[in-house]
Subunit: 360 residues, 2 copies
C-alpha cells in the first residue's frame, strides 16, 4: 500500500495516524466489541466520544463558555439558509462581503430570506483580493455581517478579523478552521463543513453565541432551528456519529501536534514553499494579491494551458493526486490543509521545478 | 478482539464482513492511495462508488425507472418536515396513520405545514397493533397518506402494503427497509434513516416517484427541496460520502446473501425464535398482537421489573449488549436487523430460558 500525496480541496486528506486508529478500532472500539458506527448515540460509549470531541474542540479554539458548539448535518450549504432563518432577529437586512464563489452562494441563499447588502466586493479584480475593512460599507441596522474567511476556489484568505461593532460577525470558516488560532469572542457565529480541515463530509460544526439563538423567523422548520439542537446537545435526533468520532480523533491529533499555534507555523511554512517558488517562476502563476493569499488553497496556472493534462499525468506518476483546478477557474489547485505534510509540498515544488525546466 | 452480540435499535450492528472491508480499505481504497473519506465527491473514484451504491439499491428493491433515489442528510426527522413541504402540491391536508412514537413525531412535524387528518390510530390499545386498512378513514382530497412501516420502539410492523388509490402513499421505512422485498410502485415516497438497516447515521435515503417532485410549498429552502437534489444527482453540495460508501458495501453484502427474499426468510426465522419462546414463557412477555409483531424490534418485559438490571448484567457477561428497552416503555428490546445472526438470537433465547429457570 502506498499513500497518495492528496491535494484534494474537499473532501480532503486526513492525518494518516487518524485513519490508522480508525481502521484499528473499526470492529472493536476500546474493548466494547462494537464499531463506533454500531453504537447507540445515547449510550455511554458514544456519549463519551461526543463529549471528548466537544471538549477538545473547545480547548483548541479556546471557545468561551457563552458559546454553544453544535454538531449538525447538511454542510455549509444548509448553513447558508439556516443563518438568515435564525439570525434575522426581527430585522430585514444583512450585510455580506463578496469575495468569490462561496460568498456568492451564501449571498444567493440569503436573498430568499432578507434584503442582502453587498457591503464590499472583490469582483472588480476578479476576486483576487480580500477587501480592506475600511472599504466595507456597513449598515448599523443589519442583522449581522457575513464573510467567507477563505475562498477555497479563488485561494483568497482573510489574515485579519473584521470588527463589526455591535452587529454580530458571521463567518464561513469551512476551509481554514483549525489552521490557526482565532479569537472566537469576536464572532457571533462561526460555521464549517467538516470535509476540509475537520473530518468526513456529512458533519457540520456551528459555534454560536448563546444570546443569538432562538431569534429567527417566526416558525422555522424545527430541524433548521439552532435552538432545537442547542437545547438537545446536538442529540435532538441521531447525529452523524461516525463523523463526530473521526473529528474527535483529528482534534486529538491536533493537540499532539502542539495545537493551533503550531499548526499555523507549519501552514505558513508549507504555503511559503509554494508561493516563494511561484513568485520567481516564469512558467507557473498565482493571481492573488500577496497579503491575501490562502495558506490552505493555492490555485496556479501554467503558461501553456495545453500542458495541463501532461502536468497532471506526471504528478500522478509521482504519487500526487487531485491537483486539477476547479472547473470554474481551470489550471491547478494545491489544497494543503492541516493534514498535508511539509514533505508533500516539497515533492510538489520539486516536480514543478522539473516541469518548468523541461517545458518552460 | 471479541465482537459483541449487538441488539442496538440504532445506530445498529453492521455485517462484520462490511466492517472488515472498510477497515482494510481505510488508508487505501482499491489502490487509489486514499481513504474514501479523503476523495473529492466529484472525482471518478467516488462517483463510481456512489453509482454502484445506487445501482445495487435499485436492484435489491427493484426500483422502477420513474423513481429517483436521493442520498440526503438530516435523518428521518428532517424528512418529517421535508415531506409536507414538498408533497402538498397545492393541497391543505394530509392523512397520517398513528401507530406509536415515530408516527407521533411525523404527525407533530406535519402540523406546522398543513392540516393533519389522523385517519387511524392504535392509541386505544396502547399502540400494540397495526390498524387494519378497513378502519382507515381516508380523505380523497389529502395530498398524501403517511404511515410508519415499523415502529422501532413499540415493535409493531405492517406486514401488508396499504392501498391508497390515487393518493400517494408515503412511508417511513427507517427500521425495516431492506428486510424483505417490497413493491416500490405502490408507494409515492419511501424514506429511511440509514442507521438501522443500511449504514452509518448521517445518511438518509429517499425513493420518490418523479412526478411528485417540485410541487411543494412556494419557496422551500433550497436544501429542503427534493428537486434540488434530484436535479443534481444528490451532489448539489457535498454528500455524506463515507456513509454512502458503507451503505454500498452493505448493499453488496445483501446481494451476496441472496437478496431481500433470502433476508426475509432469515428475518422470519430469527424473529420466530424469539416470539415462539416469548409466547410460552411464564416470565417474559411481548405485548404486540401476533400478526403485527415486528421482525426487527422485539420489546419484552420481565415479570419482575426489579430484575431488569440483573438481566442486563448477565446478558453483558455473555457478550450481549444494548438490550435495554427504550426509556418510554422500559423493559428490554432486542433489535434484530439484517446484520444480526441466527446464532445471536439463539444465544439470547438460551440466556432467557436460563434466566427464567433461575428467577421464574
Amino acid at each position: 500500500m502506498t499513500r497518495a500525496i492528496n491535494f484534494s480541496a474537499g473532501p480532503a486528506a486526513l492525518p494518516e495516524d487518524v485513519l490508522k486508529e480508525a481502521a484499528a478500532q473499526m470492529l472493536d472500539w476500546h474493548g466494547s466489541g462494537q464499531s463506533v458506527m454500531e453504537m447507540s448515540h445515547r449510550g455511554k460509549e458514544f456519549m463519551s466520544i461526543a463529549a471528548a470531541a466537544e471538549a477538545d474542540l473547545r480547548e483548541l479554539l479556546a471557545i468561551p463558555a457563552n458559546y454553544k458548539v453544535l454538531f449538525l448535518q447538511g454542510g455549509a450549504t444548509l448553513q447558508f439558509e439556516m443563518i438568515p432563518m435564525n439570525l434575522l432577529a426581527g430585522k430585514t437586512s444583512a450585510d455580506y462581503v463578496h469575495t468569490g464563489e462561496w460568498a456568492k452562494k451564501a449571498i444567493k441563499s440569503a436573498k430568499t430570506f432578507c434584503q442582502v447588502n453587498t457591503v464590499a466586493s472583490a469582483e472588480d479584480q476578479k476576486f483576487t483580493y480580500a477587501p480592506a475593512q475600511a472599504d466595507w460599507k456597513l449598515n448599523s441596522d443589519a442583522a449581522y455581517v457575513h464573510y467567507t474567511a477563505n475562498e477555497t476556489i479563488g485561494g483568497v484568505e482573510f489574515h485579519w478579523t473584521p470588527n463589526t461593532g455591535n452587529v454580530p460577525l458571521v463567518c464561513d470558516m469551512s476551509s481554514n478552521i483549525l489552521s490557526k488560532p482565532i479569537d472566537v469572542a469576536k464572532y457571533g457565529l462561526i460555521y464549517a463543513g467538516a470535509q476540509k480541515n475537520i473530518g468526513p463530509a456529512g458533519l457540520t460544526i456551528v459555534i454560536v453565541r448563546e444570546d443569538l439563538i432562538g431569534k429567527g423567523v417566526p416558525t422555522p422548520p424545527t430541524m433548521l432551528d439552532y435552538k432545537t439542537h442547542a437545547d438537545n446537545e446536538s442529540m435532538y435526533n441521531t447525529p452523524p456519529t461516525y463523523g463526530i468520532y473521526i473529528a474527535g480523533l483529528v482534534f486529538q491529533w491536533l493537540k499532539k501536534q502542539g495545537g493551533l499555534a503550531a499548526m499555523e507555523k507549519k501552514n505558513i511554512e508549507k504555503s511559503a514553499l509554494l508561493y516563494d517558488y511561484l513568485d520567481q517562476s516564469q512558467f507557473f502563476k498565482n493571481p492573488v494579491r500577496k497579503q491575501d493569499r490562502s495558506r490552505m488553497n493555492v490555485p496556479f496556472t501554467l503558461k501553456k494551458p495545453e500542458l495541463d493534462e501532461e502536468f497532471l499525468k506526471g504528478a500522478k506518476a509521482r504519487g500526487m493526486v487531485q491537483l486539477k483546478g476547479h472547473r470554474s477557474v481551470g489550471g491547478m489547485r494545491a489544497s494543503i490543509y492541516n493534514a498535508m505534510s511539509i514533505e508533500g509540498v516539497k515533492t510538489l515544488v520539486e516536480y514543478m521545478k522539473e516541469f518548468e525546466k523541461n517545458h518552460g
